[in-house]
């Protein structure tokens, strides 16, 4: 019983921190602070993945969200030199209160819905004390229980198997998507002479500043 209490307290702490971080991201005027809050939120979500016994996913979350996405966002903030924030970065004044009320209403509706969810599959309802299916091996357990146990215990391998069999096409598409994003973003962000001529002269030393054709960067 003690274990359960500890786990619950841990969950509540992580969830509270995560929500505070999310609020901080949305509310803070300084964009760098917002990005740091976002990193905190990503980390809390990774912790929740661990509590859901998806450690592999937690690792991926840390590597990609914190390691790549947050860094990219930081670069974006720096390159637009919007570090300290201005009027445009804060919540627009007259809409602040209605916006927050609308958010609370949405949250309320979702909580109400979650509490009263009607699951057509006849599975246990979501509200209340629904416990996760046990991973302990039992006689006469359904086939999916064994599958689930293997997935939890050896997630990296099962994810690999799934991506190379059942989700092979989704996996290929993900690769294509990343290639397309890379090629397209490089083509867009590199500066050509036409664009540069129209701008007011500024002193900049940006990495994207070169007038080189995209080829050097893409290849």
């Amino acid at each position: 019983m003690g274990e359960v209490v500890v786990a619950r307290i841990l969950f509540l702490a992580i969830a509270a921190l995560g929500l505070l971080a999310a609020l901080g991201t949305v509310l803070s005027r300084n964009l760098v602070h917002a990005a740091l809050h976002l990193v905190g939120f990503f980390f809390c979500v990774a912790c929740l993945f661990v509590m859901l016994e998806a450690e592999f996913l937690a690792a991926v979350q840390v590597l990609i969200y914190i390691g790549a996405v947050a860094i990219l966002l930081m670069f974006g903030i720096m390159l637009t030199r919007n570090t300290r924030g201005d009027d445009a970065t804060s919540l627009s004044g007259p809409w602040r209160l209605p916006g927050l009320v609308a958010g609370l209403c949405l949250f309320g509706a979702l909580v109400f819905g979650i509490n009263n969810a009607v699951s057509p599959s006849g599975a246990s309802p979501w509200a209340g004390e629904a416990a996760r299916p046990s991973l302990v091996e039992r006689e006469g357990e359904p086939a999916w229980a064994a599958e689930r146990r293997r997935a939890v215990e050896d997630m990296g391998r099962v994810v690999g198997e799934e991506f190379l069999t059942r989700y092979a096409m989704a996996f290929e598409l993900a690769g294509l998507l990343l290639t397309a994003a890379l090629v397209g973003a490089v083509a867009l962000a590199h500066r050509d002479e036409v664009g540069a001529a129209e701008l007011p002269p500024t002193v900049e030393a940006l990495p994207a500043d070169s007038a080189e054709p995209v080829g050097t960067a893409a290849s």
Binding site: E3, V4, A7, R8, F11, G18, L19, A22, T25, L31, L38, F41, V45, E53, A54, L57, Q61, I64, V69, L72, L73, G76, L79, T80, A88, T89, S92, W95, R96, G99, A102, L106, F107, L110, V111, I114, N115, S121, A123, A127, G128, E129, A130, R132, P133, W144, R148, M155, E162, R166, A170, A174, L177, L178, A181, A185, L188, A189, G195, A208
Partner: protein
């Protein structure tokens, strides 16, 4: 692992994060801030997906971990989306010296 945190707690967390992200999208005008709020919404959906995977009873033929696979794909999409978003934001920033979504108004009607 006998920690049975109720499923609904995870769902409440996701709902709260989702609502926060949506408020951010609606109220912030800075494009990078909007991008961050979108990331919060995507993460909320991911928490939902993984929680449903771990707690739910799969329908026949669903595979061992559809929720986790979907979450991984979402993470990939988010990375691509941020790269594209930053590229587009930089492009607009060079033109207008502003990252304010409302300020670009060359078209109307």
């Amino acid at each position: 692992m006998a920690n049975d945190i109720p499923l609904s707690w995870f769902l409440y967390f996701a709902a709260a994060a989702f609502a926060t992200g949506l408020v951010g999208v609606l109220l912030r005008r800075n494009a990078i801030a909007v991008l961050m709020a979108i990331e919060i919404m995507l993460n909320a959906a991911n928490v939902n997906l993984v929680a449903f995977w771990r707690y739910g009873t799969p329908a026949p033929g669903a595979g061992p971990l559809p929720g986790v696979i979907l979450a991984l794909l979402v993470i990939t999409v988010a990375a691509a989306e941020v790269a594209v978003g930053i590229g587009l934001i930089l492009l607009c920033y060079r033109r207008w010296r502003a990252v304010d979504v409302d300020r670009y108004e060359t078209m109307s009607g």
